[in-house]
């Protein structure tokens, strides 16, 4: 017995020694076939490729942004605090390059779509995780996820061909409130519908990850199904649910096509969702469709706006990452 043990330890040491580390990036082992090593290198290349592309995007984005801000017509402070966005005016000056109307338009869409998607998404997650039978769940969940597969341009036309006329009929004809043909509310509603599957699906995963022993514990104390869902399962899955919310809001912030079609392209410092607004992404598309030559002030402005958007969504992703990490620690 002793002898056997010693031999095996020696073998392990020998095997460890045979593993050469190439720049410490992957372990190549002498005992294995060449093919194995080729695979390891290939997979490594795949992951490096993604990182390089991301780096390339970031470099392009920020170098053009720096070029933009080194122009005499603009400066960073007025860009971040100004309330007028008139990049196409014949007089390019700092007061025409204030990004806040775009940020406000973006946040308004994100806020209203969140108000649509979060309650409905969470409600369907609770239903799927706690109430639905296995058969119902098997049908409903994929059906819900189909919503996520619809091209966003379709959502945009759904907004102007169905939701906007509906709003006009109800609000304008019924209550006498002015509704622009292009308006933020219509766009927000479809973006909200668009992100429901994301909220529902991720929240439901988080809720199903809650151990059933916790549910049993609550049932045994005389909790009703609704109490089990709202007082035990949702709190235990809260970090996952919050992460789902943040991801969905990030998606709403980044959404372009549907918003562009339904909300129009009027940068405006407004809080009225029935007016047309412009978001950061729809500005980028608007200019890209025109013929702003590269190196022109407008050609560079889209990079500055893009960088602003990047920073906002990047921060949100970091927040959701922190929240998700906490989520892993909740029940051990």
């Amino acid at each position: 017995m002793q002898e056997v043990k010693r031999v095996s330890v020696r073998e392990i040491i020998a095997e460890r020694k045979s593993k050469k580390k190439l720049f410490g990036l992957f372990k190549l082992s002498r005992g294995k076939s060449v093919w194995e090593n080729v695979i390891a290198v290939g997979l490594f290349a795949c992951s490096v490729f993604t990182i390089l592309v991301t780096l390339g995007i970031i470099i392009t984005l920020f170098s053009e942004t720096i070029n933009f801000f080194s122009r005499p017509e603009v400066n960073l402070w007025d860009f971040l605090t100004g309330t007028n966005w008139r990049p196409l005016s014949s007089n390019p000056s700092p007061e025409n390059f204030g990004v806040r109307p775009l940020i406000r338009g973006t946040l308004m869409i994100a806020f209203i779509s969140g108000a649509v998607a979060l309650p409905i998404g969470l409600g369907s997650a609770i239903y799927l995780s706690e109430y639905a039978s296995e058969e119902v769940r098997k049908v409903l969940k994929p059906a819900l996820e189909v919503l996520a597969g619809i091209p966003t341009v379709v959502y945009g036309y759904f907004a102007i061909s169905f939701i906007t006329p509906l709003l006009q009929r109800v609000l304008e004809d019924g209550l006498g409130i002015d509704v622009s043909f292009f308006n933020a509310l219509s766009a927000s509603v479809v973006v909200g519908v668009m992100i429901i599957p994301m909220v529902a699906s991720i929240s439901e995963d988080a809720m199903r990850a809650v151990p059933s022993s916790l549910r049993e514990g609550a049932y045994a104390l005389g909790a009703t199904k609704f109490e089990v869902a709202t007082k035990v399962v949702v709190p235990a899955a809260l970090s996952g649910i919050i992460a789902a919310f943040i991801l969905a809001i990030s998606r709403a912030i980044g959404e372009t096509m549907a918003v562009m079609i339904a909300a129009g392209a009027t940068p405006r410092m407004t809080l009225n969702p029935l007016e047309s607004v412009q978001t950061m992404t729809s500005f980028i598309v608007q200019v890209s469709f025109g013929d702003a030559p590269s190196g022109s002030i407008n050609g560079q402005a889209i990079y500055a706006v893009g960088a602003t958007l990047f920073v906002i969504t990047f921060l949100m992703n970091i927040i959701s990452d922190i929240v998700l990490r906490r989520f892993r620690e909740v029940y051990e």
């Binding site: 514990g217 045994a220 104390l221 005389g222 009703t224 051990e332």
Partner: protein, 267 residues
């Protein structure tokens, strides 16, 4: 069997009549007739898979959480059939506490864990007082009184299990069902749970499922021995083989099968 059950009705908490439980088409336990005495500890013993937990879970209708489960026969709780039509299992469970095999405190503070049941029952009295009383009864107060706001999951396994007992006590139940409450604990924590059961028996009726023969003989007053029906080993149907006072069951069991199991010849 009958000699032990001849107590008057007032001392009987539960009576099962022809109780059978199915999971889908599989019959798990068949025709169980059993009476549980008040303020006693009743142990349910038997080999793995003979339906001990299924029987225990019939007393608070927890089997219903499994969609395919079906119950036949009656269970009388204080002479009322809890499986009768129109009886809400939620109201049954508010009188019958349960402690599980693996400690399952909620990922909430110690205080909120204990207060959970009382809150959903809309407890009107002094919550702080109730929490303290329940934790004292569960012999946990001195260990946690300075950290009631800490997570219940920060406690050791034995403490977590006592927290779960405190949580059950806080709903002021009549009966406490325990499903192998010490099987996930070390011997010292097990001993504490057993001492606690001895304490609790003065105010509560306890039914405990256990794998541990010594535990059954140490703590229980009555023992029910369940086993797999030998006439049909393939089907694995749990039946009640023998039920009686623990002392007699362990010294002079009536059935050969009980003796074989207790002396470790099978199981």
């Amino acid at each position: 069997m009958s000699a032990d059950q001849n107590s008057n009705n007032h001392d009987i908490v539960f009576t099962t009549k022809q109780l059978s439980v199915y999971y889908g088409r599989q019959l798990a336990i068949r025709d169980i007739d059993l009476s549980i005495q008040r303020h006693k500890i009743t142990a349910i013993i038997g080999p793995s898979g003979c339906g001990k937990s299924t029987l225990l879970r019939s007393f608070n209708r927890m089997n219903e959480l499994i969609p395919t489960a079906r119950v036949e026969g009656q269970v009388y709780y204080n002479e009322k059939n809890i499986y009768a039509e129109g009886i809400d299992p939620v109201s049954i469970r508010r009188h019958i506490g349960m402690v599980f095999q693996k400690p399952n405190p909620f990922p909430k503070s110690i205080y909120d864990n204990v207060a959970f049941g009382a809150r959903i029952n809309k407890y009107q009295g002094d919550m702080d007082e109730l929490v303290e009383r329940s934790l004292r009864q569960a012999a946990l107060w001195d260990e946690v009184k300075d950290k009631l706001k800490d997570s219940g999951l920060a406690l050791s396994g034995g403490q977590q299990q006592r927290l779960c007992i405190a949580r059950a006590l806080a709903t002021e139940p009549d009966v406490i069902l325990m499903d192998e409450p010490a099987s996930a604990l070390d011997p010292i924590a097990t001993l504490r749970i057993e001492e606690l059961m001895e304490e609790l028996k003065r105010n509560y009726t306890i039914i405990v499922v256990t794998h541990n023969m010594q535990q059954a003989s140490r703590v229980s007053d009555m023992t029910a021995f369940l086993s797999i029906d030998r006439n049909d080993l393939e089907a694995r149907i749990g039946i009640l083989v023998e039920y009686g006072a623990t002392q007699r069951m362990f010294i002079k069991p009536e059935m050969q099968e009980t003796e074989d199991y207790i002396t470790g010849r099978f199981g």
